[in-house]
Symmetry: C2
């Protein structure tokens, strides 16, 4: 939709001369619009008015492309204000990552499947460890803390319980079947009922995210104060 025929006028093909960053930006736009599975080399090429193989002059492979997509977004994660309290700094970074993830829903899948650690990715991790040690955590504790945070540092909690409370989105709920499920899984039903009572609007993912994040940050602080070490 955007970015078309900038040069002279007519010729239906390649507007600007194509470049790695243009390819990556187009891929991100396409993924934003239609999901990561819509990003095929052929489709992306079409979007750029170019033949599929042309892309390979700018990215080494599809894997390289998605790595570059991740990198592009991670590169401008926000940086917390200078002199923030360490837990506040971590919160800011993690919630910044989360904000990016909400903008680019495909990012989660991409990160889960990624294998390469680009400089931007390493930089993010480095900064988080930096926050931890600035807060008085040992490198030892910081290491385990990073593991504990897990994918949360990329802004998402693994949604083990996803759409279990809110499973009844579009398809017909069918009260009879629902009752049967409730009988078979009474505790899940209990959770759903209590959730329904307290938060009829449904499960607030942001709340869940911060709940666990803060649980972990408090635990880290406690371990730090008690001089915990792993050996």
């Amino acid at each position: 939709m955007t970015e078309q025929s900038r040069p002279p006028a007519g010729s239906r093909a390649a507007a600007s001369p194509l470049s790695r960053s243009r390819v990556v930006r187009a891929a991100i736009a396409l993924a934003d619009a239609e999901g990561l599975e819509a990003v095929s080399m052929r489709r992306l090429a079409a979007e750029l008015c170019v033949v599929p193989m042309a892309l390979y002059k700018h990215v080494a492979s599809k894997g390289d492309l998605v790595t570059a997509m991740i990198d592009a977004i991670v590169s401008d994660y926000p940086t917390p204000a200078e002199g923030s309290e360490w837990t506040a700094a971590i919160r800011a970074r993690v919630l910044g990552a989360r904000a990016a993830l909400l903008e680019h829903p495909w990012l989660r899948t991409a990160i889960e499947g990624a294998t390469e650690r680009t400089p931007a990715v390493l930089g993010h991790m480095n900064a988080l460890v930096g926050d931890l040690v600035a807060g008085g955590c040992s490198y030892d504790l910081a290491h385990h803390a990073m593991h504990a945070l897990g994918h949360r540092i990329w802004g998402f909690s693994p949604e083990a319980f996803a759409s279990s409370g809110a499973a009844a989105t579009s398809p017909a709920p069918d009260p009879q079947l629902l009752a049967q499920i409730a009988r078979a899984f009474p505790h899940i039903a209990g959770v759903a009922a209590e959730q329904q009572r307290r938060h009829p609007a449904g499960c607030d993912e942001r709340f869940e995210f911060e709940f666990t994040l803060d649980l972990l940050l408090e635990s880290f602080a406690r371990l730090r104060d008690s001089g915990w070490q792993s050996s």
Copy 2:
């Protein structure tokens, strides 16, 4: 390898008459042996000495197949001993899941990509919530606790930091490049050095897993004791 030519003798084709469970078991075996990406309908069919489309008489689609694969394994997660302490019960379930995951490395990817919640899956979640409320947690707290545990209830922590400390597996470490990385990311280098000093054998994933698990379980106990609620 197993299960061949049970009827009369010779004919090189379909030994037993094929069935959903035989298909699923073969798929699991194939995934165990060569990874989930090796499980294509064509390949699996070949493994069963059958034409690809024959499988569709027993599974609705590839997605249905992998769901069934997950279900088959989750179905025989171990059950903790009757009367266990609640945190011990949860630990047992979660570590049982983890054991299954180590046996079937593809399971992680499969679960991450799964969308259907089968009865076995719901049963596992139901049992965990049951443990929490048996331990005196409210349904409210249990709900958030399940979110906090996240994929850990399936036996894996999201490995955000994976192979960062142990990145130097097969490829040449190249000390010059390594030094440059260390300069660019001093905190990561710090973690790596400290880890190297304390645990030269490398990062013990099981330790990391239990570290976070116990952190969370302690936090839940504390919240329970303080009468925490979410409203």
